[in-house]
């Protein structure tokens, strides 16, 4: 078993030009997240949650400091290598689902596997398994515009999980869902975390999500103000 942390950030700073100066979105963030954790980065809007998630996911670069994700320093990656890291190791779940509109459910879930170059048989097995996990085998031919919010987010979860990534980054995954759908989605994620040992990192301020997480990292004005283990309120 590899005991090295899956994610490490060291003195992470992210600044954006604003007016004549800079706006500091992240200010010396030091974190270490182990494999198999179910972690929430919480905090009010503008606290830097999404920025931190984007840097961990190699979608953005820090202004200074370093981020090690799955043993890779993301600052040393060019955009091709970043794309490969995301493709092979990281699943993303977005607040607005971000399903590809012209693809049906099956094709949306299949997409990451196409990028991986997986052969058709393996792909089909993996897609059907992922759709079984999220209970959408009866919707394979549906287009995103024919799905409810809950169903869309389940497709997004299936898409993130289909390649069995080591890390899933979820940005406000329940923000557009009602309570019942939110709990369904979160229970599903807990199951993946337990059965597949997938590491989940959430950026959220939704109490429903916070009720499921086992570690809560609180950001305020770009700084970690609290980092503690929590006992999930719902399991």
């Amino acid at each position: 078993m590899d005991d090295r942390p899956l994610i490490t950030t060291h003195d992470l700073v992210k600044q954006y030009p604003a007016g004549g100066g800079f706006f500091t979105a992240l200010n010396k963030v030091n974190l270490s997240i182990q494999r198999g954790e179910f972690t929430g980065i919480v905090g009010p809007s503008g606290s830097g949650k999404t920025t931190l998630l984007n840097i961990i996911g190699a979608l953005d670069y820090p202004s200074s400091g370093s981020t090690l994700v799955i043993g890779t320093d993301t600052q040393e990656l060019d955009h091709r290598m970043s794309a490969r890291l995301r493709n092979e190791h990281i699943g993303f779940i977005f607040q607005t689902y971000n399903l590809l509109p012209v693809y049906n459910v099956y094709e949306n879930v299949e997409f990451p596997l196409l990028l991986l170059g997986m052969n058709a048989d393996e792909r089909d097995r993996a897609v059907m398994q992922a759709l079984e996990w999220v209970g959408l085998t009866d919707k394979v031919r549906s287009r995103p515009n024919q799905l409810s919010g809950g169903e869309s987010q389940r497709v997004a979860v299936a898409r993130a999980m289909v390649k069995k990534p080591e890390l899933v980054l979820a940005d406000e995954p329940t923000a557009n869902l009602d309570a019942e759908n939110s709990h369904n989605i979160l229970r599903m994620m807990v199951r993946f975390n337990e059965e597949l040992r997938t590491t989940f990192v959430f950026a959220t301020h939704d109490e429903k999500v916070i009720a499921y997480i086992r570690r809560k990292i609180t950001l305020n004005d770009g700084m970690v103000v609290e980092d503690r283990e929590t006992k999930p309120a719902i399991h």
Binding site: N87, F92, F94, P101, P112, L114
Partner: protein
Amino acid sequence: MLTIRLAFRNIMGAGLRTWLNIIVLALVLVMIIWVQGLIDGMREYMITAEINANLGGGQFWHRDYDPYDPLSYEESHAPPSPALQELITRGEATPILVAPAAIYPEGRMQSALLKGIDPTQEIISIPGRVLEAQDGDAIPALIGAQMAKQTKLGVGDYVTVRWRDANGTFDADDVRIVEIMHTPVPSIDVGQIWIPIERLRIMLQTPGEASLLLLRKGIPEIPEGGDAWVHRSLDYLLKDILEIIRFRLVTSRIIYGLLLFMGLLAIFDTQVLSVWRRRKEIGTLMALGMERDRVTGLFTFEGALHGILAVALGTVIGIPVLYYTFATGLPVPEMMSDFGVAIPQRLYPSYGIPLIVGTALVVLVSVTVVSFLPVSRITKLKPTDALRGGRS
């Protein structure tokens, strides 16, 4: 392969927008080929008709003969050199004698050109055989339909002709119109009266002389003309017509460009909209691990695919439409016969393989370039900006 599959799925998924673009492009393609085919058909017709009816396979001109200077006609005649006479004897050349004249139809004076031709010649398609008909002493004459219209002369009419012979003496006689020829070539019609060359030689007192010689097409060897005769190749003789065609080609290129511009504008618009409206999708593709260059390639190929499908649809639409016009031709308005060049009654377009393949390639390449221009912005787009759907 993945890019092709995805691009195909994407543009098919875009539904009506895709089909509208493809239909516009396909129609542009067919229109360009059709218009260009008509112009090529017109060009081929003009050249062929001029060669068949007027120019033959080249000419020998008397050294002083200048078709643009009527004053040169009186001095520009001589007996053909022995080598040229040999050609005439073998039927590979025929002499033409040209003389300025005045005619008096309905008592009005009009200038005309008397042209003497051997009635038995078969080098150009003038129906000279009708000039063999004799009716007393009247000089048989052949005129074109436009000349007949201008002079109000008909078959059987007599008209007085006045000319000056080689000695400078004016003389006059009546000619009888024996035939009105309907020719699309104005250069053998307007202002011209064709009579037997032997009669004209007598009238001008220039026995055995000619102003120019028409050569049969494809004669194996062009002899030296001697001091008095200058060879004029077909390229030289067609110079004016080619100049007119070149001018018309400019017009056709403008039409070509405008049509292509319309089609490309639709693609450019779609691509700009795609990059703008599909930013979030672009960000998602990047987040899922698609490389930026590959996203650019995908979007460019989507645009190019419009061109490929337009060529396919253009083939389906174009084959029956173009074949129909190729087979039946298009009627040309009569007023166009006054344009001064050979105009057919029905215009048959000419669709060559280079025209069809070339136009399809131009459309494909242009569509690809136009598709790439807006898409190239993706390479500057940060995934996080794209995911937000905002400006980069």
